[in-house]
């Protein structure tokens, strides 16, 4: 009955190694996303961005990290101490957990051993991602509440109501994909899209809805209601400083990285690209293709952020509940009807 415990030691070691590598890559990408964000923002605004720390400012994330660690670790007097410290940890943990089901490639041949480039291929991968995305709210809510500051609380409530509203449309757009592919496993989905049979060609509306919801879930502009520097002085992390603030910001970039990975896998063929076999270079071609797609989407996320102004809160809710959810339901119904028609 207990299938999960029947694995041998070498298998566990291999998975631990993979988790370690993915964790390191995730952290590096998150760190360099901050640099990329600033550089891209600068370039879009006719500036040059950070260029002092190292060549082209490439050491800027290191400098930022050192700064974060060196700052005074301050806890407000009337804050709920335990939860105040716990909140960034929860947020970070949830952000890192999501990457476990993403297939980074087929198999990697290293020193004669075949390594499966996916931490775990559970047959409900998409639901697992939805589950952890829905848990991401807690870090924000607890952090905002434990700060004992009304602006933090406003920010937390805005952020969490935004996230639960957009989760619905996100889930509905994914249901259409699931109906079309007939699987919940991300690995199977990626395999089905070999060559140029990408899901986005069959589900353009679903992709659009999912993309908008992903922007909202990551709390990024034009949906950065949670932060609102202008009216909420930073939102839920107003009271946070030093590395605790760093954790929040870092986790947001990890969220962005993971959502880009999910978008690439679910809609844009994952590790597949027409003409490039993912098993080339001993299996390294798959990750290379997938990561180029991920970087492209990270760039699009940033590009959108530095182009569009922020939504007003009622516009945001209007778009979520009266715009995207009905659209996602229509998309779902259409997909169902068409699959039924084609299947019979």
């Amino acid at each position: 009955m207990m299938y999960i415990l029947l694995f041998d030691f070498a298998f566990i070691l291999q998975k631990m190694g993979l988790i370690g590598v993915i964790f390191l890559i995730t952290l590096t990408i998150a760190a360099y996303s901050t640099y990329g964000e600033r550089k891209i923002a600068a370039f879009l605004q006719d500036r040059i961005g950070p260029d002092r720390a190292g060549p082209f400012g490439l050491l800027q994330p290191v400098a930022d990290g050192v700064k974060m660690f060196m700052k005074e670790d301050f806890i407000p007097a009337n804050a709920n101490k335990g939860l105040f410290i716990l909140a960034p940890g929860i947020f970070m943990f949830v952000a890192c957990m999501t990457s476990a089901v993403i297939p980074w490639g087929t198999t990697l041949t290293l020193f004669g051993a075949n390594i499966d480039l996916q931490v775990t291929d559970i047959n409900i991968g998409i639901l697992y991602i939805m589950g952890f995305v829905s848990l991401g709210v807690y870090g924000i809510m607890i952090g905002g509440w434990a700060s004992n500051n009304k602006y933090s609380l406003y920010g937390a409530i805005r952020a969490s109501s935004q996230m639960i509203s957009y989760e619905l449309a996100m889930g509905l757009s994914l249901i259409a994909i699931v109906m079309m592919t007939g699987t919940l496993s991300l690995r199977t989905m990626a395999e089905q899209q070999s060559g140029f049979q990408w899901n986005v060609l069959y589900q353009p509306l679903g992709f659009l809805i999912f993309f908008i919801c992903a922007l909202a879930e990551c709390n990024r502009a034009p949906f950065d209601m949670a932060e609102c520097e202008t009216e909420l002085i930073g939102g839920y992390h107003t009271e946070y400083g030093s590395m605790k603030l760093g954790f929040f910001l870092f986790a947001e970039y990890i969220n962005m990285f993971v959502s880009c990975a999910v978008i690439s896998t679910v809609f844009f063929g994952g590790y597949n690209f027409p003409g490039l076999d993912p098993s080339w270079l001993g299996g390294l071609m798959g990750p290379i293709v997938l990561f180029s797609k991920i970087f492209f989407f990270i760039f699009v996320f940033m590009w959108i952020r530095w182009t569009l102004p922020r939504f007003r809160y009622d516009q945001l809710m209007h778009l979520g509940w009266k715009g995207l959810i009905p659209l996602a339901i229509v998309n779902m119904l259409l997909t169902g009807a068409i699959t039924l028609w084609l299947g019979k």
Partner: protein, 165 residues
């Protein structure tokens, strides 16, 4: 090994469930409840019911408890704002719940637990679960769906009270 994991999870779930009731701060209570849900989800995974585990997390921990937390945060209930009940209330509540507890024990004492036979280990997987839901139990499933729809419409109507007047 599996028994040890089961017992650890079971003990943890009982402890966190008790902490839900015993902690003074309502926000802490909600957080302990979320931990309890997590442990129960882990039990589902032990039973090879991954779909149930994840849906349990999405629905309970991801949606319902968020709304709970919302209300608690907006009301800002704290230890010092908790209303003090008179001792008469406390005694009567203790007697009532004690009697309910005794009744439950009395009812279960003589009964034997009927085993459902050897359970199919694959029943928790999403494909089998879907087949069961949409073939054997399709009518109850649809009725439950209609019930939810009715509840949703009712909630909207309650929310739009001034429009009905």
């Amino acid at each position: 090994m599996t028994l040890a994991i089961f017992i650890t999870l079971a003990v943890l779930s009982v402890i966190t469930a008790l902490l839900v009731v015993l902690s003074k701060n309502p926000v802490h209570s909600v957080l302990y409840l979320i931990v309890t849900f997590f442990i129960i989800a882990a039990q589902y995974i032990m039973l090879n019911a991954q779909f149930l585990a994840v849906v349990h997390l999405i629905v309970y921990a991801g949606a319902i408890m968020v709304l709970f937390l919302f209300v608690l945060m907006l009301l800002n209930l704290n230890e010092d704002t908790e209303p003090q009940k008179s001792s008469a209330w406390k005694i009567s509540a203790a007697i009532t719940s004690g009697m309910l507890f005794l009744t439950l024990i009395g009812a279960l004492k003589g009964s034997t637990i009927a085993l459902l036979g050897a359970p199919n280990p694959q029943v928790g997987l999403v494909r089998n679960l879907g087949a069961v839901l949409f073939k054997d139990f399709v009518v109850p499933f649809e009725i439950a769906g209609i019930l939810f729809l009715a509840a949703m419409v009712g909630a909207v109507m309650v929310g739009k009270r001034d429009l009905a007047m």
